[in-house]
C-alpha cells in the first residue's frame, strides 16, 4: 500500500509558490506575541510532483462509477455528466462570494430560482428550499418544519412514526429535533402494515416518515390511505426522497398525500457523490408550510432576483451558513435542463426496467423476498439461501463481487431482510453491464456451493485483501504519528 504523504516529507521541499509580500508591515507589529503559536505546525514538505503522484496513486485504489458498475442500493450511483463538471468550474460560479450584492450575482440567483421552481414542479410541491446540504440535513429541516407547524397550531405532539425499513438517518433526524420514534413493522408485501399504523397513530403523532418507493424498492400502494390516517390526527406526511429517481415524470409525490419531501440531488440529479459528499438535500413543502422554510429563499421582483427574508419570523431559521451547496445545486440545474420533460420520464422508466430485469434474472439463484411485486428502481435480494446451505454470508458475496470488478450492493440494509443485498442499477447502465453482473452473481452462487472458502477469503485481487474492521476499532489509530 502507498506510503502516507507524511512519509514523503523532506525538509524545505516546496509544493507552492507565492508572491513576495509587498507590504512593509511586520508580523510582530500585528498582535502581541502571546497570540503566536508556540510550536510550528508539522505538515509534510513535498513537491507538486510528489503531491500529484501521491494522490493519483491513491486514486487508483478506488472503485468509482466511471470504472465499473456500482449497484449500491439507495445511493443511485448514476453517471455524472462531464459537461456539468466543466461548467461549474467557471470563475463566475466558483468565484462568487455568498455575501456579495444580489445585483452582482443575478445569474447565480436565476439558476437557483429556476431550480427551486423545477424541483417544485416535478414533485408537485408549492416551493422548495435549496439550503440543506444532504439528505439527512433535509430530513432534519423537514422535521423542524413539521414541528413549527404543530407549534404554530399549538398541537401537542411528540412522536414520529416510521416503518422498520426506514433508513438510519430517519430515526436519527427524529431524535435531533427532539421527537420520539415509533417504529412499525412492514407487511408481507414489504409495505407499511396499515393495521400496525392505525394502532400506532394517536394524538401524539406529529407525522409519518416514509420512503417511497420504500427501501425495499416497492411503491407503497396504499399511500392514499396512509396519508389519510396521518392527516386525520393532523399529522404530516414526510417523504424521504432518496428514491425519487423511480418517480421522475411518473408520479408527483406532492399529489399523493405527502406534505414535505427531501430530494437527494447527489442521487436523483446526477451530481457526483464525491467520495462521500458534498451532496444537496433540498426540501419541498405544500403551500401552507412555505412560511416555515429556512430563510433566505430566492425570489424575483420586477425582473430582478434577490434573497428573500420575508418569512424570517415564521421560518425555522437556518441550517447552513449560507445558501446550501450552491455548486452542487448548479449541477442539478444543468442536469434537469438537459433532461427536459422527455428525459425526465425516461430516466425513471429505464431505472425501473433495469431493476426489474436484474430481479427477474437473479431470483432463481438468490432469495428475493418480495419478488411477487414488481420493484421500482431497486430491489432487495438476500444471501440467506447461501448462508443456510453453505455458510457463505452476504458479506462474502459482496467481497467476491469486488474481485469481479463490481462494487457491492448495499448490504445488511434494510434491516428487515436478513442477509440483505439492496441492488440499484440506475438507468445509466446498459443491458450488457447488467448481464455481466448477473453472470458474476450466478458464478458466485455456484462458487458458494463448490468452493465456499474462496468466498470467505474474498476479495483476492483488490488493492488490499479483506480489511480487519475489528482491529481498526480495537487499536484505534486515527492519526499518523511522525
Amino acid at each position: 500500500m502507498p506510503k502516507t504523504i507524511f512519509e514523503k516529507h523532506s525538509p524545505y521541499r516546496k509544493g507552492y509558490t507565492l508572491p513576495a509580500n509587498d507590504v512593509e508591515t511586520k508580523l510582530e507589529s500585528c498582535f502581541p506575541n502571546n497570540f503566536r503559536r508556540k510550536e510550528k505546525i508539522k505538515l509534510p514538505e513535498v513537491s507538486e510532483l510528489d503531491v500529484m503522484r501521491h494522490f493519483i496513486e491513491l486514486s487508483h485504489n478506488n472503485h468509482f462509477i466511471e470504472k465499473g458498475f456500482y449497484p449500491l442500493g439507495s445511493c443511485t450511483m448514476k453517471y455524472n455528466p462531464k459537461i456539468n463538471e466543466t461548467l461549474v468550474r467557471n470563475e463566475k460560479i466558483s468565484g462568487l462570494h455568498p455575501l456579495q450584492n444580489d445585483d452582482t450575482a443575478q445569474g447565480a440567483l436565476e439558476i437557483l430560482y429556476e431550480l427551486q421552481h423545477m424541483l417544485s414542479e416535478i414533485s408537485g410541491f408549492a416551493n422548495v428550499t435549496l439550503q440543506p446540504v444532504a439528505g439527512a440535513q433535509g430530513e432534519f429541516t423537514g422535521l423542524k418544519i413539521m414541528k413549527a407547524y404543530h407549534n404554530a397550531k399549538n398541537n401537542k405532539k411528540n412522536k414520529i412514526i416510521l416503518p422498520d425499513s426506514a433508513h438510519g438517518t430517519n430515526p436519527a433526524s427524529v431524535m435531533m429535533v427532539g421527537y420520539e420514534v415509533v417504529e412499525i413493522p412492514s407487511n408481507k408485501r414489504g409495505m407499511v402494515d396499515i393495521e400496525a399504523l392505525r394502532k400506532a397513530v394517536n394524538n401524539d403523532t406529529a407525522g409519518f416518515m416514509l420512503t417511497n418507493p420504500n427501501t425495499l424498492g416497492i411503491f407503497e400502494s396504499q399511500i392514499e390511505e396512509i396519508s389519510k390516517i396521518i392527516h386525520d390526527v393532523d399529522g404530516l406526511m414526510y417523504l424521504d426522497g432518496a428514491n425519487f429517481n423511480a418517480l421522475l415524470g411518473i408520479v408527483k409525490p406532492g399529489k399523493t398525500g405527502f406534505d414535505i419531501m427531501h430530494y437527494n440531488l447527489h442521487k436523483t440529479f446526477a451530481t457526483p457523490h464525491g467520495g462521500g459528499g458534498p451532496g444537496s438535500g433540498p426540501i419541498g413543502v405544500r403551500k401552507d408550510l412555505i412560511k416555515f422554510l429556512p430563510v433566505p429563499m430566492v425570489n424575483k421582483k420586477n425582473g430582478k432576483y434577490y434573497w428573500d427574508y420575508t418569512n424570517q419570523e415564521t421560518s425555522i431559521g437556518r441550517v447552513h451558513s449560507f445558501y446550501g451547496n450552491f455548486a452542487v445545486n448548479v449541477r442539478a440545474y444543468l442536469y434537469l435542463k438537459m433532461l427536459g420533460s422527455q428525459g425526465l420520464k425516461r430516466v425513471a422508466e429505464n431505472a425501473i426496467i433495469n431493476a426489474n430485469y436484474l430481479m427477474k434474472k437473479l431470483q432463481d439463484h438468490f432469495l428475493v423476498p418480495f419478488k411477487n411485486e414488481y420493484c421500482m428502481h431497486e430491489f432487495v435480494a438476500s444471501g440467506k439461501w447461501q448462508k443456510d446451505k453453505t455458510g457463505v454470508k452476504t458479506l462474502d458475496i459482496a467481497k467476491r463481487l469486488l474481485d469481479k470488478g463490481f462494487h457491492a450492493p448495499t448490504i445488511y440494509f434494510p434491516l428487515i431482510v436478513s442477509e440483505a443485498m439492496m441492488i440499484e442499477p440506475t438507468e445509466t447502465e446498459s443491458k450488457e453491464t447488467l448481464d455481466e453482473f448477473i453472470q458474476a452473481m450466478l458464478d458466485i452462487a455456484a462458487e458458494a456451493e463448490n468452493s465456499p472458502e474462496t468466498l470467505k477469503a474474498a476479495p483476492l485481487n483488490t488493492p488490499v485483501r479483506r480489511v480487519d474492521d475489528t482491529r481498526a476499532v480495537r487499536e484505534l489509530d486515527v492519526k499518523f504519528e511522525w
Binding site: 509580500n21 467557471n90 435531533m176 408527483k252 437556518r318 435542463k337 420533460s341 482491529r471
Partner: protein, 445 residues
C-alpha cells in the same frame, strides 16, 4: 439521452425478459390516479450545446469576486488555491466514488481521509479529528450537542462575538434538544462570562479570531470555562490562522471546530464548504461524523477503514451521535491536497501575508479622515471599520469601481455604519492602495 444507456430495442428485450408487455405493466402498485399522464413538467430537453450557451449567458450577469478587488470574508475567504488541487479532485476516481463502505476498493478515499484527520489534528493540537462535517456552522452546533451529551448538561454559553450565521444554525440544532443557549458579551468584559458559567454549563463556545476579526483572550476564557470541571471549551477557529496563532491545545480547548473552506476550496457562493471537528481522545465516542482508522488486511498489510461506526446513524439509528450520513468529503480532499502542497512554510506564509496586509490596510484606512477601526483589539486578517456613511452605500459605490468593499453588518442587525473587511495573501499592495483611494473618494465621507 446520452446519459441513458439502453436503446428502445434493448428496453423491449428486457421488458420481454421480465415478462411484461409494456413498461406501464411494471407500475401496477401505483394507483392509476397518481400517474402523471402528460409529459411532466419541464421545458424541452436541451442539448449540451444549448445548455452551455444558456449557462454562459446567465453567468455573464455574475461578477466573480475572484477577478475584482474583493474584501469579502465573514467566514468564507478567497485564499490562493494551487491549480494542482482541482486536478486531483476532478479525477473521477475520487469524485464519482461514494462513501468508502467497501474498504477493499476504497483505499484511495480512506487513506486521504486518514491523512486529512492527521493534518487537522496537527493544526489544532487535538488527538482525533473526524472526516468532516457540512460546514463550520453545523460543526459548531454538533460540538455543542456533543458537549451536552457528554456532560449531561443542558446549558451552552456562547460568546456574542461568534459569527451571527453560526448562531442561527446553532439555535436550530439545539432547540429541539432542550439546550438553553446563553449569549454573553466577552469582548468588553470577561466578568460577564464568569457570571454565567455554572454547574449546568455543558460548554463555552468562543470564536477566535471572532466574527469581527478580533482575537479573543483564549487563555483567560479557558480559565473561567474550566473553573467548572465538566464544562467543555469549544473553540471556533480559522484553520489558516493556526499556522501562526496559538494552537487550541495551548489554551486547553476540548473541542475545536471551524470552517475548512479556506483550505483549498473556492468560495462557490457559499457552498460546498466543510466543517472540521477535532477533540480529545476521551471524547471520541461522543463524536459525530465518520472516522477513518488504520488497520491491516488479511495479509497483514497496512490499510484503512471506517471505524467506530457504532456511533453512527446506520448502526445506532435514534441513539446515534448525529444524523449525518453524506458529508462534504470532496472538499476535505481539496483541503488535504492543499495542505500537502503548501506545507508548514506555505501555510505560514499565507497566514503571515494575510495578517500583515490586513494590518497595512487597516492602518492606511484609519489614517483617512472619518474612517476608524471599530475596535482597538488585536485582529488577524479581518477587521471592522466604522464608516462615516452607511456601509451599504460604500459597498454600492465601490462595486462600480470593481471593488467589493466588504460586508455591511447592518444585515446582521448591527450598526449600519459597520463594514467588515477581510484581506488575504492574494491582495497586492497596489490593490490595497486602490481600495484606500476609493474610500478616500467616497462623497460625504
Amino acid at each position: 439521452m446520452p446519459f441513458i444507456s439502453n436503446t428502445d430495442k434493448e428496453r423491449q428485450e428486457m421488458l420481454t425478459a421480465i415478462g411484461v408487455e409494456k413498461f406501464s405493466d411494471l407500475l401496477k402498485n401505483i394507483p392509476q390516479k397518481f400517474i402523471v399522464n402528460k409529459n411532466c413538467c419541464l421545458e424541452n430537453q436541451k442539448s449540451e450545446l444549448e445548455i452551455s450557451h444558456k449557462f454562459y449567458k446567465l453567468i455573464a450577469k455574475n461578477i466573480s469576486s475572484a477577478r475584482v478587488n474583493s474584501f469579502l470574508g465573514g467566514g468564507i475567504y478567497d485564499h490562493f488555491i494551487p491549480a494542482a488541487v482541482d486536478h486531483i479532485i476532478q479525477r473521477p476516481e475520487f469524485h464519482t466514488a461514494y462513501t468508502p463502505y467497501q474498504a477493499e476498493v476504497s483505499q484511495g478515499t480512506l487513506q486521504y481521509i486518514y491523512e486529512f484527520q492527521s493534518m487537522i489534528c496537527e493544526l489544532t493540537g487535538m488527538e482525533i479529528s473526524n472526516a468532516g462535517m457540512y460546514d463550520g456552522a453545523s460543526a459548531t452546533a454538533e460540538a455543542i450537542l456533543m458537549a451536552a451529551r457528554k456532560s449531561k448538561r443542558d446549558k451552552a454559553v456562547i460568546a456574542a462575538s461568534l459569527n451571527p450565521l453560526y448562531k442561527k444554525v446553532i439555535q436550530v440544532y439545539t432547540e429541539g434538544m432542550d439546550i438553553e443557549l446563553v449569549e454573553v458579551d466577552i469582548e468588553n468584559d470577561l466578568q460577564n462570562l464568569k457570571k454565567v458559567v455554572d454547574n449546568q454549563t455543558a460548554c463555552v463556545v468562543v470564536q477566535s479570531p471572532n466574527f469581527f476579526g478580533n482575537l479573543e483572550d483564549m487563555f483567560a476564557i479557558e480559565d473561567i470555562t474550566h473553573s467548572e470541571k465538566k464544562t467543555l471549551f469549544i473553540t471556533v477557529v480559522d484553520p489558516i490562522s493556526l499556522a501562526i496563532l496559538n494552537s487550541p491545545t495551548e489554551y486547553n480547548a476540548d473541542i475545536v471546530v471551524g470552517e475548512g473552506q479556506a483550505l483549498g476550496n473556492p468560495t462557490n457562493y457559499g457552498g460546498p464548504l466543510f466543517g472540521f471537528l477535532a477533540t480529545r481522545s476521551k471524547l471520541v465516542r461522543s463524536m459525530p461524523g465518520r472516522i477513518v482508522g488504520a488497520t491491516v488486511d488479511a495479509n497483514g498489510n497496512r490499510c484503512y477503514s471506517l471505524t467506530l461506526q457504532a456511533r453512527e446513524q446506520h448502526i445506532r439509528r435514534a441513539k446515534a451521535t448525529s444524523n449525518i450520513c453524506s458529508n462534504d468529503a470532496l472538499c476535505t480532499l481539496a483541503a488535504t491536497v492543499y495542505m500537502s502542497l503548501m506545507g508548514p512554510k506555505g501555510l505560514n506564509e499565507v497566514a503571515t501575508q494575510s495578517a500583515t496586509k490586513a494590518h497595512y490596510l487597516a492602518t492606511k484606512i484609519a489614517e483617512l479622515p472619518n474612517y476608524n477601526l471599530a475596535s482597538n483589539k488585536p485582529f488577524f486578517k479581518e477587521f471592522t471599520l466604522k464608516t462615516p456613511i452607511p456601509a451599504k452605500e460604500i459597498i454600492n459605490l465601490l462595486t462600480k469601481k470593481d471593488i467589493l468593499a466588504g460586508i455591511s453588518l447592518e444585515q446582521f442587525g448591527m450598526d449600519k455604519n459597520l463594514l467588515l473587511i477581510a484581506v488575504t495573501e492574494k491582495k497586492s499592495k497596489a490593490e490595497l492602495d486602490n481600495f484606500v483611494n476609493a474610500l478616500k473618494e467616497v462623497p460625504n465621507a
